[in-house]
Structures are given as structure tokens and as C-alpha cells.
Amino acid sequence: MTPVAPNGGELSLALLAMGLPLLSFFLVFFVTRPRVTLSCAVSLVCSGLPLLAAIWLLAGHWRMEAPILWELTWMRGGGVAVTFGFLLDPLSLLMLCIVTGVSFLVQVYSLGYMAGDPGKAKYYAFLSLFAWSMISLVLASGLMQLYIFWELVGLSSYLLIGFWHHKFSASQAGKKAFVMTRLGDLGFFLGIIVLLLNLGDLSILGLNQQAATRLTPGLLTASALLIFCGVVGKSAQFPLLTWLPDAMEGPTPVSALLHSATMVAAGVYLVSRLFPFFQGSPQALGWVLVIGTVTMLLSSTMAMVASDIKQVWAYSTVSQLGFMFMGLGAGGYFAGVYHLTTHAAFKALLFLCSGVFIHHYATNDFFVMARSGARSLKVPMLSLTVAGAALSGVWPLAGFFSKETVLSALAELPNPAWLWLGLLGAGLTAYYTFRLLFVMWRPRRTQPPAGHAEHGEGGHHGAAVYWVMAAPLLVLAVLTALLGAAGPALESFLAWGRPLPPGAHHGWLVAASVVVVAAGAGLAWLEFGRAGAAQQGFLSRIPGLWNLFANRWYLDWLYRWLLDHVVYGLFSRLFTLNDRRVVDGGIDGFCRATLGAGWLLSLLQSGLLQYNLFTMVLVMALVGLYFLLV
């Protein structure tokens, strides 16, 4: 469909949404940094207004027919032109709302969470930077612009994950996140170049409409897969999934932001953004499906053995992302996007709740939390439960419906194996979620509650702080509860309001999923919930598996080994030696040789007159001889 130019209102709103966060970044970072409250205020305003703008735009275009496009040339050189602009269509509008919403809530939440942190103002500056790059990514009109802000998202996540950079682990995690996603972006970049050289047009609409027809299947698949490499990196899919759990080193609100709406969601967003393009090559979609499945299963297994609350949610994020990719890979465009939406809500909620506990009990281990009486914090506890239930897909919460759509998309596939795998994943999810919930609800009081003495991340503050942090929870909890009902409306909105093809609705599928979830929950009840349960997972009785899962299937170990022994140990050392010995040593050797030659020649000047005379005569004689010869 042909895009239309924005009218004044749309233009100003969109630019407002894109521009304000950047403005606040510069303001806070360079101007108001010394004055914390002012900085927070600026940043809050600059993230609140975009939210309003986003909602306004969404409401105003609920029944939009044609995408709205506005661009200008950002860079032009050597036949390559990079455009900067925005593309408003249902997908980008929906995503815009999610991003702005979550980032606003997180900023509000951080008011309490980061209270008293020396670097609070800088933290807000980075949050704004993050918001800016994510918003611009969402609204990007061209693939190159998308890539640019994709990189910036990576940068800001690097800054935020490593925010407490005096902790070695934190800076390490930030570096890891950046480099690993960079590795994936390599493919993304190459894919863009391939498209650029063969298609010459990087506008998203153009790609979606013409790529399939104008590219040979081989090139199409190649570029699609290369781009998907970027997605794998960003969305922490197999095999690049290990950076995300480490990213927990950042402040918890950051994790919430990272995991729900911004960083990792970008990958899913990219695939759905280019969904028609991907559809052009079945092989590519097949790969998406495979990767998604593998990731989901792997990470759920990891979640089953984690005892760090944030770790659990991190693994679950990875697995849920895998789930979305399964949906997309199965051709369920709406399934992926819908699950992305709901997941954004309840995952943000999960993290923010955990944040409250961590902040309160200064520990990340939910067994300890439970023992210290986590139940007493009513609001977080309830919202945690709601979110957990949603995550594991309990009716009537949002997660249930989105999961249903994904599963039904899988059911469409000729091969039933995918569906079974999907169900298995759902079961595992339910298991580890309820494991955590039961532990939190029914603690075993082995020792008196660990007081609030020790202060890890954060620290204990007054009731005001508590409520500042609790308020966003309530909002998100409500959303989590209600989003389920919004499914059909969203679907039609995303489909440009056209009547939907009657998707075959499998009643048995609902039943199956319910059963599976129940099974998972039941197992969790047996092991952790019921009175007198040992709170020991069945896995602890299978040390092999336990170690495997606890060590993330040794993926990290593998990367570390490669880095140490191949990159540092082999190439770096080899090249450095070569540089010292061969390249540089060669030069020095040459110079020494020259000096030696000089010394030899100076021996000619023996000091004995006759030698000199003799040399003279000899040379002249030789010269004469030469003449007679030629």
C-alpha cells in the first residue's frame, strides 16, 4: 500500500516522541547532572510526553488505512543514501506505546529504586538515551536507520548494564552484552550491505513489498538469515543467549526495561517489522522456528534450577522470546506480536516486583527472601503472583491468550512435533514459575528472618519509596490482567482493520495447554508447595542434568575457552610476536647490519699509507681493465 505524508499534527507528535528523550539526555548529561532532582524531573517529563504522544497517535489512527511516512536524507555519499524519518503503521504505533509506556513506568519506579545512588542523574541520562534510541528504532522508516539505532540500543544497554562499573562483574557483563550482540550485528550489517548492493533500496516498505519479487531466492534467503543473525544476538537466542542472564548485573529497573520492551524486544520487532520480507523465503522462516524452539527449551531448563530470582526471569525471558520466534517462524505474525505485547507487560511487572524484594531484603536469592518474610509485602507479592500466572499462561490472564495464539499458529504446521515442543515449553514454564511462586508463598522457616542488615544492591528506605515503587506495579498488574481481552481488537488493528481469515480454532488445543500448565504447576506443588515438601526439585536428584542446566549447558564455558585460547591465546599472541620479532625485528636487524657495514668499511682506513695508495692504484687499474674488456 502506498504511504501518505503526515499532517502537521502527526509530524509534530512523532518528532516530539523521537526528539524529547534525546533532548533530555543532553540536558541531563551535560547540564543538570549536578542537580539530581531537576535531572529526574527533566527526564520524567521527557519520557512522559512521548507516552502521551504515542497513545494519542494510537488512538487517532485506530482505523488507519495507509502507513504514514516521513523521511529526510541523513547522509549521502558515494551513491549510498541513509534516510532518517518515521513510518507510522499499526505495528510501529503499538510498539511505540509499549516502549514509551514501559520506559515511563520504569523511570517512575527508578525514582524509588535508585534513591540515594550517587550516579542517579547519570542513570536517568542513560535511560533517556535508551528510550531515544529504542523509539527511533521502532519508528525507523529505513533499514539503515533501524540498524543505526539498533547499535545505539546496544550502546545504551552497555552503559546501563555496566552502570555500577566499580563492580567487576557489572562491567564484565556490559562488555559481554555489547560484544556478543556486536557479533550478531556483523551478520545484520552484511545482510544490509547485500540488500543495498542488490536492491539499492532499504526502505522497510520497499523491502516488504518488492524484495520477494526483485531478489533471487538464494539472495533473499541469504540476506534474511544474515539479518536474523543480528536478531539472534539482540534477542539472546541460541547460540548467543548467555549475555542476557549476566545482564542482571545492571540495576533491576534496567533489567525490566531490557527484558520487556526495549533491548531484546527489538529483535522480535525487527522480524515482525520485516515479516513479509521473511515470508518471502520459507527456509529463513524455518530457521527462525528452529532457533526459537531450541532457545526456548534450553533456557527453560536453565530456569528450572536457578535460585536467583532475577536469573529465573532472565531465562524465562529468553525462552519466551524463543516462543515468540516460534510463533513468527510458524507464520503467525499476530501471534508473535501479541505475545510480545503481553510479555512486555507481565515481564516488566515480574522484574519490578522482584526489584522491590531485592531492594527490601538486599538479596537476590528467593529462598532467602521467602524466609525473610517476603509475603508481608502485599502489593508486590500479589502482582508477582498475577504476573507469574500470566507468564505460565493461566486463564484469564494475558499470557494465556497470547500463548494460545502462538500454539495455534504452531498447530497450523504440517509437522506436529513443533506443537508438542511448544507444549513442552509451556509445561516447563509453568513448572519453574510456580516453583518460584510456591517458594515465595510458603517459606520454610529454618532460621529467624534475615534482617535488613546487609545492603546489597539498593537498600531499605521509607514507605514513600515503597509506594513510588509499588504504584507502577499496580498499573502493570491491571494491564496484565486486561490485555488478554484486547486480543481480537489488536489483531484486527494490526491487520489494517480488514476482516480476519477465520483461523481454525482448536478446542482441544486449549484443553491440551491447560493440561500441560496444570501438570507443570502440579509438579511444582508437589515439590515446593505442599506442606512438608522438601523444596527440592526433582532435578537435584539427577546431578548430571542439574549441573548441565546450572552451567547453562556449558555455553559460557565454551565462549570463554574460545576467547582465551583462540582469540587471545592464538591470534593475538601470534600476531604480537610476529610484530615484535619479524616485522619490527627485521627493521632493527637491517639497521644493525648497516652499521656493521660501516664499521667494516672504516677498516679500509687502516692508517698505513701504502694500503691507501695501493687501493687507489688498484681501483684505477681495474677501471682501466674494464675499459679494455668492453
Partner: protein, 102 residues
Amino acid sequence: MNSLHTYLFIALVLFCIGLFGLLKRRSLIGMLISVELMLNAVGLNFMAFNRFLAPDPAVGQVAVLFIMGIAAAEAAIALSLILALFRKIRSINVEQARQLKG
């Protein structure tokens, strides 16, 4: 016997003897004498060419006179230097004068 080449040959031989002496002798006096030999060879050359080829018979003779004169001056300077050297190092053997080298 009285062809140009005879004289040239003798001159060449003379020159070579001088050269040989110059390289062989270690005493400065001996070297000086050898140089004189070489100069005489040159003179002989000039005379021979003058006698057999040159249109104007004066040139060669003038040349020879000049050479002899200058050779005399040369000998004077050389001897004075050798004397000076002898004063300093008590020897006129070049092997003794080897401070400057390298």
C-alpha cells in the same frame, strides 16, 4: 729502435717501477724517490710524443721543464715534512705513523 713505441714502453716501465717502489718501500725517502721516477717517466712520455708527433716542438719541452721544476719544489716540501715527522716520532718509517685510522 728509435720508434715512438720504444720510448713509450720505456716510460711505462719506468712509471711502473716507480709505482712499485712507492707501494713497496716503507721509508718515506724511498717513496719520494719512487715518485721522482714516475715523474721522469711522464717527462719521457712528453718528450717522446713531442719528438715524434707534435707539430710544435716547443710544447713538450716546456712541459718537461715545468714538471722538473715543480718536482723540485715538491721534493723540498716533502723533505721538510719528513724532517718534521722525524722530529716528532723519531722515524721516517710510515709504519710508525699510524695514529690516524678508522
